[in-house]
Symmetry: C2
Subunit: 586 residues, 2 copies
């Protein structure tokens, strides 16, 4: 071992001990006759001291040449500091160095290895191994480790078995696009990387494993949006002989456990909210319920009062901005511009100031009197001093626009506190969504989700009405997990594939093994998958998942550090019976 | 929840309780007026009873139709059995059923779901979800879960951080063949799936993570031998500021812990053996040391005595088979035929019987007298009653042939007891191997392995002489892990790539990021990777890894259950800018 202690270990109790430390030079302070060096490793920082009087001359001379990020090993004696730093575990001592070995000198790093660095995103990604040396990123990854260990131990103690499912599986065109892997031994054939272990975990239930979990990489070849990764990690779980409520109770307990273990926060029972309510009250199926501003629907109050902008629309809906009555005209105009941005796409905003004295001032005073506006205030929950913003339009898009506004206002008002946690279950999702482009239904969750028993008839009559035994787990306005009770009999699964536009042959080719399995005693089962990257980020007080992944890819799916993907050697392609085509070929 | 208890939970203490159970019908015994059903789940078997007198008539009638592997839910009362089965936790009770629901009927399974099944390998692989219902396979996978949890908790408590490294990385032609993944967004470019996270874990050390571990899937596109999988799981570990001994001590402790935790076995300190000694005494770098039959080299004693077969050879070497003097001539001939098989490839065997009365009888009595043979016995450690087998030939091949013979004899004599464990470290491996075909050196371990300090000069003068800071962990004659102290400076790494025949450009293209990283303060580091599949199998008392993998591939790399790999749709290939060529194109 090249050290006797790590850099976070020593304190006054070690005074006069001879120690050997190794680590990185964080900082050098040269006072002319005395040199202090902060020596850093994963565990902390220990101060080294070299001085003209007490340090052997050659060692002192060496110390003058040390630079940032040099890796050194020192031998020395622990001495008490003259001026102690009570904020550091090692702040009471320093090491009077007697021997110094430079294990590996460092070039000057391209950015500072500090909590606040001067490095830009691109540079930090290219030198990710240096970025990872920075304390916040290091702590994020150590935190991730703690979360995964807590998850594993919690689930294991609850009787879940960690089973590894395969990575080289079969491509299925349903859902997102697969990454594929050409098979050298089977010319013209390909494996696919799993988008999730969905069918395998269901087979494990058929196999009687009863409770399964896995923390597993999944892959989706999608056009990347900010903060989406082509490979991501899932906490994947499945249970047998359960109903929806059993799954909710089990994983509510897990999230409560995680918050307790990692943050010391006790979270009460999670509210349950139907999809319909979430859309109506928050315009969103993953509402952030840490703050109010719930939607108030104003159709009955605001239509047919002569204001044409409202009359023709499907939905008129508003929110109350707490304390917003004090906004200047300019600020209000700012918000109007904000909702008109193409990313939001609203046409505009009607506003109503609810003054402290009980009077109202609005952009639609011509059409609505104080009595009208008082009713709006009542429906949107606006108090004196608040501001009401109102939108109108097609139901779905208007809800989504007002939801975006609600979230942005909350963000700017500091209502989305990263250290405050509120989770809820959203339930009763529609089973199917109609897709105009492909003129067919898509599974809202996935094709294996069971409809609610009371909706089995709807599948025949009006499939769009059927609700699913599906549920999402939402934390602080982010979907962190979703699951469902699954179909477990062949006939219903076949019907579902039919509704989704599969021919019998397609269903058989792609999922025949699952439908076969259902014929040999498949038990009722259901489960959930949680997005680990996002969960860890949220628990870590951030919404940026990239800071919680050791080696993330950029928005083009590239690893700029190792320069992947990259071209293959011709011989490799030949072995795979493949030819690359120019990009504009197809 | 569809049950109040699982099928392993109930005993006499529950007598008279009303319970709800769900599970699979393991067995139905119909005595005419009474029907017993064994109900099975992951946790055990509970006996159900339906009889003409006490069971509602319709329920009794239903019970007559139950078949193997039907999934049922029952309600009933726990009653004490008349004839108890003390070998089962639930053997004292049975359930007098009052309600029966068939949750899912099963077709007759294609093979019996019993510990000893009548299903062949192919059929069991095709219906793996049924094979997984069999108790031994289920227990293997639950055992695997316990091992991985024990590994994770042990390493976590020892300060190791679990860090996920990426799966979509860069192809490097060195080593085994990569599986590759075409990039849709980067035409003509490919990711590769990792053969191991080697470079990433080294970067984590450069990043200061100090101690890393990961239980991670790795991929090698090799022609498959029996019991080798294209995707396999590794316990991957790395440590900073360590020397070889530190790594050995840490992972010796881990294996001892695993054996204690999972088997209750206390294993003493692991012997250390150099590669040279292992080859000399066992003809093998992964010796099974649970039994003797170590090699005795006989060149000095057996050459130049007129027996031409020995004189011309590089090596004459023998082993003593305990109690082998009693072998018949036919048995000895059987062994001679065995070593002549092409898989072994020896030319023959000389044999010497060491009789209890101190006399000798050999196949070479014409050339060697009793005094000679007594010396052979002394060198091979043969006692009265033993048999000596002797081989001669080129050193390397002869050792390997005699090693094969030693292992097969031990196997047949029952000396390779699956419940007896002996581990050792093999050290001091050569750094490089000369490859005649490519006329260049290959890295014996991998290109990142550090030579021993005292061999740095040899790298210039005679690279073949250099030894590596590399080590293998061997358990019961199987290599279960291997590792090394790594190179951590750019100059030495460049020199190593040069020795391995990389041009500067190739080295830079493939591993430039690593050599760059070494310039920014790379600490000394080393690590190890253990094959989880094999480790779990050995701890589980088997050498067949396939029985410890939930969904293994067959020897052609196929998953016959899901039928993967398979053809893609044309549109998928087009999106990837690829064209499949006929197999005989290249």
């Amino acid at each position: 071992m090249l050290r006797s202690h790590h850099c976070g270990a020593l304190n006054e109790n070690n005074t006069n001990h001879e120690v050997v430390l190794a680590g990185w030079v964080q900082k050098v302070r040269n006072k002319g006759f005395i040199v202090w060096v902060d020596l850093r490793d994963r565990y902390g920082i220990t101060q080294l001291v070299f001085d003209e009087e007490r340090t052997p001359k050659s060692v002192y001379q060496q110390s003058l040449k040390l630079g940032r990020e040099d890796v050194i090993q020192i031998k020395g004696k622990v001495i008490e500091r003259e001026s102690k730093n009570p904020n550091m575990p090692t702040g009471g001592i320093e090491i009077l160095v007697s021997e110094l070995t430079v294990l590996n000198a460092s070039k000057t790093p391209p950015f500072t290895i500090e909590t606040q660095t001067d490095g830009g995103d691109e540079l930090r990604m290219q030198y990710r191994y240096l970025d990872l040396r920075r304390k916040p990123i290091r702590e994020n990854l150590i935190f991730r480790h703690k979360v995964t260990m807590a998850v594993r131990n919690f689930l294991s103690q609850a009787g879940f078995i960690d089973v590894e499912t395969p990575y080289l599986i079969k491509s299925t065109p349903e859902g997102a696009r697969d990454f594929v892997v050409p098979s050298r031994m089977n010319s013209g054939q390909f494996y696919a990387l799993p988008q999730s272990p969905q069918t395998f975990k269901q087979l494990l239930m058929v196999a009687g494993f009863d409770k399964y979990f896995q923390i597993v990489k999944c892959f989706r070849d999608e056009d990347l949006r900010a903060d989406r990764q082509p490979e991501f990690t899932q906490i994947d779980c499945e249970m047998t002989f359960v109903e929806q409520e059993d799954v909710l109770v089990q994983f509510e307990a897990m999230i409560q456990h995680l918050l307790k273990e990692t943050k010391g926060i006790e979270l009460g029972a999670f509210p349950r909210m139907t999809f319909a309510t979430a859309m109506e009250k928050y315009g969103n199926d993953k509402p952030d319920i840490r703050f109010g501003m719930t939607f108030g629907e104003l159709n009955a109050l605001a239509q047919n009062k002569g204001f044409n902008v409202f009359d023709a629309q499907e939905l008129v809906v508003g929110i109350a901005v707490p304390g917003g009555a004090g906004m200047t005209r300019k600020e209000i105009d700012g918000w109007i511009e904000w909702v008109k941005r193409p990313q939001v796409g609203a046409k505009g905003l009607v506003w109503v100031k609810c003054h402290e004295d009980g009077s109202y001032k609005s952009s639609v005073d011509k059409f609505f009197d104080s009595e009208d506006l008082a009713q709006w205030a009542s429906v949107t929950g606006a108090n004196p001093g608040d501001l009401i913003f109102v939108m109108a339009g097609a139901t779905q898009s208007t809800r989504s626009q007002l939801s975006a506004l609600r979230m942005e206002i909350a963000e700017q008002m500091g209502l989305r506190k990263p250290d405050e946690y509120a989770a809820l279950w959203v339930t009763d999702f529609p089973l199917l969504e109609w897709d105009e482009e492909s003129q067919r239904y898509h599974a809202m969750h996935h094709p294996f989700t069971a409809p609610k028993k009371e909706n089995l008839e709807d599948l025949e009559k009006d499939p769009s009405k059927a609700k699913a035994n599906a549920y999402d787990l939402v934390l602080n306005g982010n979907e962190i997990g979703g699951g469902s009770i699954r179909i477990h009999d062949t006939a219903l699964q076949e019907k579902m594939f039919g509704l989704l536009g599969f021919t019998e042959k397609e269903a058989q080719d792609q999922f025949g093994f699952l439908m076969d399995a259902f014929q040999y005693g498949a038990p009722p089962h259901g489960g959930i998958a949680l997005g680990l990257d996002r969960l860890v980020a949220l628990l870590g007080g951030s919404e940026t998942i990239r800071d919680f992944i050791a080696f993330p890819k950029n928005n083009n799916g590239r690893d700029v550090m190792i320069n992947a993907p990259s071209a293959l050697e011709d011989a490799q392609l030949e072995e795979l019976h493949l030819k690359s085509l120019p990009k504009d070929f197809s």
